[in-house]
């Protein structure tokens, strides 16, 4: 198979994407070896694709992520706590946690969670040094890359964070979130 310059230009994009059949691929390569012009077109196009494909080309305005997060936070449905709702949540937690937890919860009053939707952790070492944002709902291992608001962080122990109603970060402290809590209710993805 022999291809012309025009054919090479028409297929250069498909060639780079690996979307041409083997015979055409060979013919293009053969042509480019003997044609400096098409070589310049192919090399340049490939360079263009590589440059723009670089992560660094996706620039966002300064503070974009924070503003997005804030806007999202403001529009989230605020859980309104009804007594019955709270009882149901508490009862479910007790059922999952088992009898040891029942005994413990009788002796220490359960902290008011900052979000009744956030998962409680299990077995977080009480002395673990953690950080939490003033208005956040989660506590993190210091340096966790999923801390959004790094400006108002307070350092404390895990025990203190839990007492204040913070829940463990699902990323940096995920080992303390038990598997059955993470599993989905049936039918959510259908």
């Amino acid at each position: 198979m022999v291809v012309s310059c025009e054919q090479v230009w028409r297929e250069v994009s498909n060639y780079i994407d690996g979307e041409v059949d083997p015979a055409l691929r060979l013919a293009i390569e053969e042509h480019v070896r003997g044609c400096p012009q098409c070589d310049a077109v192919l090399t340049g196009t490939r360079n263009v694709v590589e440059l723009y494909g670089d992560e660094r080309m996706l620039e966002v305005p300064f503070g974009f992520g924070q503003r997005l997060h804030r806007r999202l936070d403001e529009s989230m449905p605020r859980p309104r706590r009804s007594f019955l709702g709270w009882m149901a949540t508490a009862a479910a937690a007790v059922l999952v946690a088992g009898s040891f937890e029942i005994v413990r919860s009788l002796h220490s009053h359960s902290p008011q969670p900052r979000s009744e939707l956030a998962q409680r952790g299990k077995g977080v070492p009480p002395d673990l040094k953690v950080v939490a944002a003033e208005e956040g709902r989660l506590f993190h291992v210091p340096g966790c890359e999923f801390i959004h608001d790094k400006t108002k962080l307070r350092a404390m122990t895990a025990a203190e964070a839990e007492r204040q109603g913070y829940a463990p970060c699902p990323r940096c402290l995920k080992q303390y979130l038990t598997a059955d809590e993470i599993s989905a209710p049936k039918g959510v993805s259908s």
Binding site: R71, L72, S115
Partner: protein, 207 residues
């Protein structure tokens, strides 16, 4: 791994842990912005539309179908939001004839000078990124959209077609044209040889 985390996060959001939704979006927030910017070409509008799109995605999270990627779904919503905004802004204006870019006819490259490789290390420099962004801004709308989704956000041809509501054949045609036009715009001989004015082209390599 990322896929797994995403699926787990998604289930938890669906189960009511709404404050985790941002975690779900966060890996793609730059892409959301880039898609909006590709269509609107204005930072303030792009940011506003990006936020609107994310809020919309949250509102309609139960309509997300797991057979497509979450990122593609999110970008699709963003493209629709941005187009709506653009249509609103141009509602009173007649689309100029010149604005109806056609994709008929083949695009022939104009510059055949030896291509001087621009190493990706130079992307560290703002002036290089700036030059590339300027060249991209010169493309017509339909070419820029396809190029941004396919080559900058690395969507597949099918995903790009789906997000833009066009055929895969159109994606391929527009992509070819976008790439060739960018190459011409950045070519040393045609674009005024901007890259040869950069110090790396003169032999003082900054990397």
């Amino acid at each position: 791994m990322e896929q797994f985390n995403e699926a787990a996060l998604l289930r938890r959001v669906l189960a009511g842990e709404y404050d985790l939704f941002y975690e779900l979006v966060r890996p793609y927030e730059r892409r959301v912005y880039a898609a909006a910017f590709a269509i609107l070409r204005n930072e303030a509008d792009a940011e506003d539309v990006a936020q609107e799109a994310v809020l919309k995605a949250f509102k309609h999270i139960r309509q997300f179908r797991a057979e497509s990627r979450f990122s593609t779904w999110l970008i699709q919503i963003t493209v629709n939001e941005a187009r709506m905004r653009r249509r609103k802004a141009h509602a009173n204006l007649m689309e100029p004839i010149a604005g109806r870019e056609d994709e008929e006819g083949n695009y022939a490259p104009r510059d055949f000078a030896d291509w001087r490789e621009i190493p990706s290390e130079t992307l560290e420099r703002k002036e290089v990124r700036q030059k590339l962004a300027e060249a991209l801004a010169e493309l017509g709308q339909i070419y820029r959209e396809v190029f941004v989704l396919r080559d900058m956000q690395h969507l597949s041809i099918e995903e790009t077609a789906k997000a833009l509501g066009i055929s895969t054949a159109s994606v391929k045609t527009r992509l070819l044209r976008a790439r060739l036009m960018l190459r011409d715009l950045l070519a040393p001989g045609l674009g005024g040889g901007w890259s040869s004015k950069l110090s790396f082209a003169k032999g003082t390599k900054p990397w």
